[in-house]
Symmetry: C3
Subunit: 312 residues, 3 copies
């Protein structure tokens, strides 16, 4: 059998195809699994679930409208399933201030000349892999390609491997409000409408869209307690909020699990433009780690977890 | 139907294949498109056009000689088509001087010890994606793998999405001289012959190959006017030129649309080694932005566009 | 024929499949080669060799346990074959001290707050490509996914292209001790057990696993002579050693070809955490280049070669 198969690899211009299925069984089981995955190729995990009935969490093949094929993780079980992992925000250096690895804010240092920083929230640049998304930043073409209604966010401790994500997550929630439909169908379009840009608005008056969330791991109370005691009067938990400004007019992209009511949002919102009036705030995890007053710091668990973003 | 399909995903060692085509129609249309794309797999877009008659612009599958499979954009319509997108030069920080993101010059700061910088023009390192190539640097295996005769260059405004590239481009041109044939068949080989290295030559006497171009968007005059008034006597438009030196013996990789006749090439040529005698010149877009004398600056449109490189 | 094939690309919802094999011959030979490669899809090159009899060195398709598909180079000939290229350590800037490109130590500068640096040796982050692995760092999912017994290391001069690797290598060796089996089956698990972290141990007393090697290119003597005369009493050649500390408690990941007997390991071991008591030691190639005393420097050949890591 093996001789027969390898023969194909030695032929160049003239390849005689070998049988890969005998009596209905793949002679290469890995290839069988590959073909089974490929057979459900779709534009999103929801597509795959609805059209082809796939029901297991795992890695699937997706394609953009233009035909770029990629792989990512689908959550096929939570709240009906059909969730596509499109991005993760991972802090590789909590002490860095817009240094290498801060792809969701800026890798050029805190710089007034770069008020939008990397521009990652509103561009088509992609990086990382699904399997590596708890150890590094991740963004796939689904981020800009998929038309979705809702988001889910999972906070998964750094280094956890894919098969342990669901159980290891310290916080998981999703929206059911279909709020993305009003903003172009995904975060790429939402952030074109609400730029993550220093000086483009003011605290409280220029907050972007906010949606209530349903918790899948944790609840309003545990979510609230992930932030220091001085911060708990600064926000309402049970929401996810996009594009806010702090008291300095510095922009942040996402307040995970909360809706700001105060203006110290750098301590509980993440991502950002490339300039913060207070340079120590600049970075993917902004000022979540604030040692000068620990009551203004997020919990160690939250700081050491990646925020995984899903669409449905 | 969906139950039948998803069943395949649940079987591990023993996969019974499901029909994917019924009465000549793919039951998964995305899979049908995928297979149609795969069926034209080739070494270059010209290969795909000539052998399999593909005639639409879009994303196709290519393979290197060694068998690495990748996807990129094929322009199948301009001047007969068959153009493979192999790279883009994108300036992520016009104020940076060989900082992070300057992959076509150096990301290590201006450094006399690194006269060839990243070495990107003459190595096999790849990065980015076709769909992201107007928002970030891009280089695929075709850059070093394809044997070609001509190049085309498109200057496409940052952030434009793939389907709008052709109409949004501010400048598009291609060569018809087959000049690459004399230099190893691609830029990888051309730049081994003409290293992009500080001090390796002199202005005027050590200019690399230059070829006349045919314009597909714009013309000699509009091309000329993309550079400040003080520069227009410094070059002849209607050409593309590779590997030049300025008055300081600093090396640049490509003069897009022009052939230098003077020695201030840092204001109208891009890419480079890792050292420029004047540190402010160091970077992917060299000194195209020169605020101290605006007549020596390229137009805002050009500075805010990525240069997409094609082979045929 | 070409009209017939391209027709498939024009149909969207309803794709009529075209024949790709006629009389047992692929009408697209590149596609034939692709299918031949895909037919041997496996978890490792050893898998591919043993189950499907593939016997040629080259690029193959692999899949992780979760189903992420990737391509890498398989050495199917050395010492029985079945070796999977999983990583390469490439020094892009011998003068840099934990700067951009130092993915196997730190890209954040020498920093006491980052004792484990990037964490690359013990995480699931991947980067680079097999074909580019002599010009840039490389790490694929096999690094953490494959269960292996032995390692091989090739030192291949920078810029050498894939087809020349075997003949161009200045040093090639492999283990036969099956030492990985005692440490979780791969380096990902080994380095969880033996963290590459400043201060986590002492020279001599806390050395990680070491295995004797069999040389495929070079020998004990040529290996020894790749390091300066002052260093040759500092180690025993004919081994590969993982996770060692120098006199400063600074951690290194791999001593290629040698087992330290002294404590100046920064001159002959590579990789590391993100902090070295002596900042000049920080970087992917640590202090292999040591101009202040050339007898403590590695040979130019070794410094200008990438270290390619294989599993079997």
């Amino acid at each position: 059998m093996s001789k027969l198969l390898s023969a194909g690899l030695h032929v160049l211009g003239n390849v005689t195809p070998k049988p890969i299925i005998i009596n209905g069984t793949y002679i290469n089981p890995e290839l069988g699994k590959y073909h089974a995955r490929l057979r459900t190729l779709g534009r999103s995990c929801l597509d795959i679930k609805e059209k082809y009935g796939a029901s297991r969490d795992g890695i699937y093949f997706l394609t953009t409208e233009s035909g770029s094929v990629y792989q990512t993780f689908c959550d096929m079980t939570t709240a009906g399933g059909g969730w596509t992992l499109v991005a993760s925000v991972h802090e590789n250096n909590i002490y860095g201030t817009c240094t290498y690895g801060d792809r969701w804010s800026s890798q050029q240092g805190n710089d007034r000349l770069k008020p939008e920083g990397e521009g990652t929230w509103a561009n088509t640049v992609t990086f990382g892999t699904a399997e590596g998304s708890t150890d590094d930043d991740y963004k796939n073409p689904g981020y800009y390609d998929i038309h979705a209604q809702d988001v889910a966010v999972w906070h998964v401790p750094n280094d956890k491997v894919l098969k342990d994500w669901t159980t290891a997550a310290i916080l998981r929630y999703h929206t059911e409000s279909h709020f993305l439909s009003e903003h172009g169908g995904n975060l790429y379009h939402l952030f074109h409408k609400y730029p993550v840009k220093y000086g483009a608005g003011d605290c409280k008056t220029d907050m972007g869209p906010s949606s209530p969330v349903v918790y899948d791991t944790g609840d309003k109370e545990s979510n609230k307690n992930m932030f220091g005691s001085s911060l708990r009067g600064e926000f309402e938990s049970g929401f996810v909020t996009f594009r806010v400004f702090n008291a300095d007019k510095s922009a942040m992209a996402m307040c995970s699990g909360v809706k700001p009511t105060g203006c110290d949002s750098q301590h509980y919102c993440i991502g950002g433009g490339g300039f913060f009036l207070e340079p120590l705030h600049c970075g993917d995890f902004t000022a979540l780690h604030w040692t000068s007053d620990e009551t203004k710091s997020a919990s160690k668990d939250m700081i050491e977890s990646a925020a995984l973003l899903f669409y449905r």
